[in-house]
């Protein structure tokens, strides 16, 4: 395998970015990430992005954003209709093919123009489930009830996760929900979607992020302490909720195994758990020990969940901490689909 590292990252997340179009708010992030790496678009061996037409409410929405990269002269480029973390995966694979040593990756989404909970209903089986218009948060509540009533987790444990996210988010300028709350205060909240409380739900955000990847010596030139991708893998579970064990995440465990996210020493983990229940399952699936590993030092997806960028932001957050020396080995995670159906795990290390 060719050693590839995350060498630059820029992000923006806000509850609603209403005054700017996607390309308008992405251009400064793209420029910022490239400048941090000291590169221009012409230096990029490959470019890949992730976004969703259903989120934007228009077909071919990514065509409006590509101009932000400055694709004149033309660029070697691709796009996935998935979280930007999968765009990063595609770029990482492209670098593994040889011949290039840099890549530019971005992901973005605006949930605020529509109702994310309704939009996500169209991800469900179009013949059997979507016609019922399931509220996507209620779908997670089904899983939560299985977990709670099966004795897998307690409401207090979920409240601890929510409280930790809020506390960590206090130092993250990009967090949308960063007001601290104690476990007792969270447990005192009325249910939003029984058995989930408001603090169990993601803080929906608009925004995006941009990442620069570089290989080998190029990465060392561009970054004082590159965050090396030591392994990356993604796996899917079945879609049909009825055939899955919703009290665990088999695909997250499998992706972690294949990415090599095992071993004793993981200093920090950035997990894309939009719900406290999903974060709980991820900690379990990745075998993380909270005494040794700082979980979601950014506050995670609970504190700001920017659909189509949330997973890529986890990779950027984890890499940033390695650059700063906050840790030597990190795990970053992205997810897609209802109840953690699809999971991507990336292991990052400093030299």
């Amino acid at each position: 395998m060719i050693d590839v590292a995350v060498v630059a990252f820029a992000q923006r997340q806000e509850a609603a970015i209403s005054g700017e179009s996607e390309v308008e708010f992405m251009v400064p992030l793209m420029e910022q990430a490239k400048a941090a790496a000291g590169l221009t678009q012409a230096d990029m061996g490959f470019t890949c992005s992730g976004s969703s037409d259903f989120l934007a409410g228009q077909a071919f929405s990514f065509v409006m954003t590509i101009d932000g990269t400055g694709p004149v002269p033309p660029i070697s480029e691709s796009h996935v209709e998935q979280d930007g973390a999968w765009a990063l995966y595609e770029a990482w694979v492209k670098i593994q093919c040889g011949g290039i040593d840099t890549a530019f990756v971005y992901g973005y989404g605006k949930s605020s123009p529509g109702s994310l909970r309704d939009v996500l209903a169209t991800q469900m089986d179009p013949y059997y489930v979507c016609p019922l218009w399931p509220d996507s948060y209620a779908v997670e509540a089904l899983a939560a009830r299985l977990m709670l009533e099966g004795g897998h987790v307690s409401e207090a444990r979920l409240a601890e996760i929510a409280a930790r996210s809020r506390a960590s988010a206090a130092s993250n300028p990009h967090a949308v929900r960063a007001d601290p709350k104690s476990v007792a205060e969270i447990l005192a909240e009325d249910y939003a979607i029984d058995p989930l409380r408001p603090s169990d739900l993601p803080a929906e955000a608009d925004g995006g992020c941009a990442v620069v990847l570089a290989a080998g010596d190029r990465a060392r030139e561009l970054c004082e302490r590159p965050a090396w991708i030591r392994g990356m893998d993604h796996r899917s579970d079945a879609h049909t909720l009825g055939v899955r064990d919703l009290t665990s995440s088999a695909s997250a465990r499998l992706a972690a195994e294949h990415a090599g996210a095992t071993g004793d020493k993981i200093d920090l983990a950035e997990l894309c758990g939009p719900f406290t229940t999903s974060e709980y399952l991820l900690i379990d699936a990745l075998g993380l020990n909270e005494d040794r590993t700082a979980i979601n030092p950014s506050g995670g997806a609970l504190a700001a969940h920017t659909m189509m960028a949330s997973g890529l932001i986890r990779i950027g957050e984890a890499a940033s901490r390695i650059w700063r020396g906050d840790g030597d080995r990190a795990v970053a995670h992205a997810t897609s689909g209802p109840c953690l159906q699809q999971n991507l795990v990336c292991v990052l290390e400093g030299d």
Binding site: S21, D67, S112, P113, G114
Partner: protein, 199 residues
């Protein structure tokens, strides 16, 4: 297998794995198969135009056309998107453009289109390169038979009556010939202007 001529396959035969007919319970035998279900999808979005398009639409209400200039190359884009694809950076300057230009190329639509019942075919849609702009933008050519429209033909905007103006690109009803001599086109492959001319 190599060397042995394979029996010719019927390319349309069902793959072996799908060839077995599905068995259904006795109770369902003879039931009419459901071939389709109709699932209406209604999602509502509140669009916001963004900074550049907002300015552009507001100016439209005053019968003004705004473009935006790329700081690096000087090219002027209209309608503005707030970004220069040439530089990969925000546009640096708002530019007011003339409401005159030329037809860069055109299409004569001879079929009705669903969302514009007011447009009676045949009608001519064209890329109009405004004086002062680097790229063409889309408009209807009116007050002339579609067959008489020419690449290079000079046109001027025909605006809605003042009392009907809105913050909308629909304020321009179309583009009518000015009668000036045609713009001389020498390179049919390339569109627009590399350098923006003075409005």
């Amino acid at each position: 297998m190599s060397g042995v001529p394979a029996a010719p396959r019927d390319p349309l035969a069902a793959p072996a794995a799908l060839a077995e007919p599905m068995t259904v319970p006795e109770a369902l035998s003879g039931a009419e198969p459901v071939e389709s279900v109709c699932t209406p999808i209604r999602l509502s979005y509140t669009y916001t135009p963004g900074r550049a398009l907002s300015r552009y639409l507001r100016a439209m209400a005053d019968k003004r056309i705004l473009g935006e200039r790329c700081g690096a190359t000087g090219q002027v884009f209209v309608p503005p998107r707030g970004v220069s694809p040439l530089a990969g950076s925000a546009t640096s300057e708002v530019v007011e453009l003339a409401d005159t230009g030329y037809v860069e190329s055109f299409n004569i639509t001879r079929v009705p289109i669903e969302r514009r019942p007011d447009l009676k075919p045949p009608y001519c849609s064209a890329w109009i390169v405004l004086d002062g702009a680097s790229v063409g933008f889309l408009g209807l050519v009116i007050n002339i038979a579609p067959e008489e429209v020419r690449i290079g033909m000079r046109v001027r905007a025909v605006w809605k009556p003042d009392e009907e103006l809105e913050t909308s690109a629909a304020n321009i009803l179309g583009w009518a010939p000015t009668g000036e001599p045609d713009e001389v086109i020498t390179d049919y492959a390339r569109i627009g202007r590399v350098e923006a001319s003075d409005a």
